[in-house]
Amino acid sequence: MTEILEASGLSKWYGQVIAVNKVSFRIGPGVTGLLGPNGAGKSTLMKLVTGQLRPSQGQVALFGQRIWNNYPLFRRIGFCPEQDSFYEWMTGAEFVAALLRLHGFGEAEAESRTTSVLELVGLADARDKKLGAYSKGMRQRIKLAQAVAHDPEVLVLDEPLAGMDPVARRETIRLVRGWGKAGRCVIVSSHILHEIEAMTSTILLIHNGQVLADGDVHQIRDLIDQHPHHIFIRCSEPRRLAEILFRFEDVLSVRFEPDGRAVTFESEKPDEFYQRLPDLLLRHQIELEEITSPDDNLQAVFHYLVK
């Protein structure tokens, strides 16, 4: 993977408060979810990555270059801030066009890009409305518009779905996934797990200013040894299946569902469990209806690592 963003021993403190504590990671093209509870250090990390703050210690580099006060680099970065603040007296189109002109685009080019980006985010009809009159969802979308209008290679989106209705949310998730697939490096921060899950399986989990995990969420899950995996099986003979599987050492517990037609196993070696299961089902002629892993997901990873 070609690293676009690299942090090494990155720390930031404000007086006695350490907001980001010796964080090291590498992020390449695609969508990466920056995940963490409130106060974890996500916003501070985003500000370090977008050059709004200077590192107290360590370094962070974009395309191999230091970010702080490196203004030519900002041509390649698009940032969607969390705060809901604008030049309220401007219309949506004026706002995007003004910021495009600050990027160095001429009037005509800025106007043309403004039109296409507003269509992209679904604000074409509201382009001439003042920002002060925009709804919360519209304000969120205009922030996104100004972040992508200049076609940056790196997109840093701080809580981009906040305040959006379900339709706009779905549309934005689709856009984010599209930008990731197109090869852009997209970093999305959120504390809402299912939003991140809908956009990507690559996460950077941060808590108390430290990175707890980074990589694919399923790989991370597999590495969490202290929390055995739960496997839910709905079949024709759950009790018989439980009796068979419980003999194996890695199966720690069995719980039967109230309807009597399903069973949840707890296994500390899920790979072995999955390997032996098909053969056993065939041999004992047990009909399998459903198999899922309730905790092979972001919520479980978050819960096990953070709580």
Binding site: S43, F74, S85, W89, L102
Partner: protein, 267 residues
């Protein structure tokens, strides 16, 4: 595009954005009213002279001199540059829009300079018409010879106003970029420090902008007369150069601060 032309375009874009943000707002109505009040005072004086409402031994040049030295240079210019100068950066921080500016491929000092350009432009727009209209109102209708004779003094006044705008504008831009409570700090300087220090003997007065302005003002009002009683004026060349140098110094410092300071936007 050459780098100079590119930089000029960036200056202009920032300046126009700042003008739109600061100038075309309801707050400017208030500032314009104060500026118009100066003209209103000129009209009042004109009416008194024309209709002899009171028997008072003043002449149009005297009224103009008083307006210029007391109202324009020592108040209007200071107030407008304080009003807009402290807002250049702090308004963006308070309004949480600074992020949009700082995340553009423009050096931060250029952003500061562009905003300063806007400040100078706005102040000139609000002050110069008042001065010119006041001059016209007071001088026209009386001795026309005097009208043309004193044009030199008017030109000098306008030049001094420009220098005052440059110096005070840069100072308040620096205060606004540096301090959190920039308005209070600006008020304490403008009406505290500059209200007391010029009237103290010795070299302390040279630590004020108003001393250099008083030194080159062609008019004398009571305040100037008192100040000059206590100490001497600085020479005209020294005063002009100092004002320009102060403007450059304050602006450079403001640019440096903007470049290096981390502005924490509250979430």
């Amino acid at each position: 595009m050459s780098s100079l032309a590119k930089m000029w375009r960036e200056f202009r874009t920032i300046a126009f954005l700042t003008i739109d943000t600061l100038f075309w707002s309801k707050k400017t109505i208030f500032v314009a009213l104060i500026s118009l009040f100066i003209v209103a005072l000129a009209i009042l004086a004109r009416l008194i002279l024309t209709y002899n409402w009171i028997r008072s031994p003043f002449t149009p040049p005297q009224v103009f001199a008083t307006l210029m030295s007391t109202a324009v240079v020592h108040f209007l210019v200071v107030f407008i540059t304080l009003f807009y100068g402290t807002a250049l950066i702090s308004e963006e921080v308070e309004g949480k829009t600074l992020t949009y500016l700082f995340l553009r491929p423009i050096p931060k000092p250029v952003i500061m300079l562009g905003k300063y350009l806007a400040l100078v432009w706005i102040t000139l727009l609000l002050v110069v018409p008042s001065i010119v209209f006041s001059y016209l109102i007071l001088y026209l209708g009386s001795d026309l010879g005097l009208f043309f004779e004193d044009m030199g003094a008017l030109a000098q006044d306008l030049g001094i106003v420009v220098l005052a705008i440059l110096a005070y504008g840069a100072l308040f831009a620096l205060i606004g970029a540096w301090l959190r409570h920039s308005v209070l700090a600006g008020l304490l300087y403008a009406f505290g420090w500059e209200g007391i220090i010029p009237y103290l003997p010795g070299y302390l007065r040279k630590l004020t902008i108003t001393h250099y302005i008083q030194s080159i003002l062609p008019h004398d009002d009571t305040a100037v007369a008192i100040a000059m009683l206590i100490g001497e004026r600085s020479g005209p060349l020294e005063s002009v150069l100092t004002l320009v140098l102060l403007a450059v110094l304050f602006l450079s410092t403001a640019s440096l601060i903007v470049r290096e300071k981390e502005y924490l936007i509250e979430q």
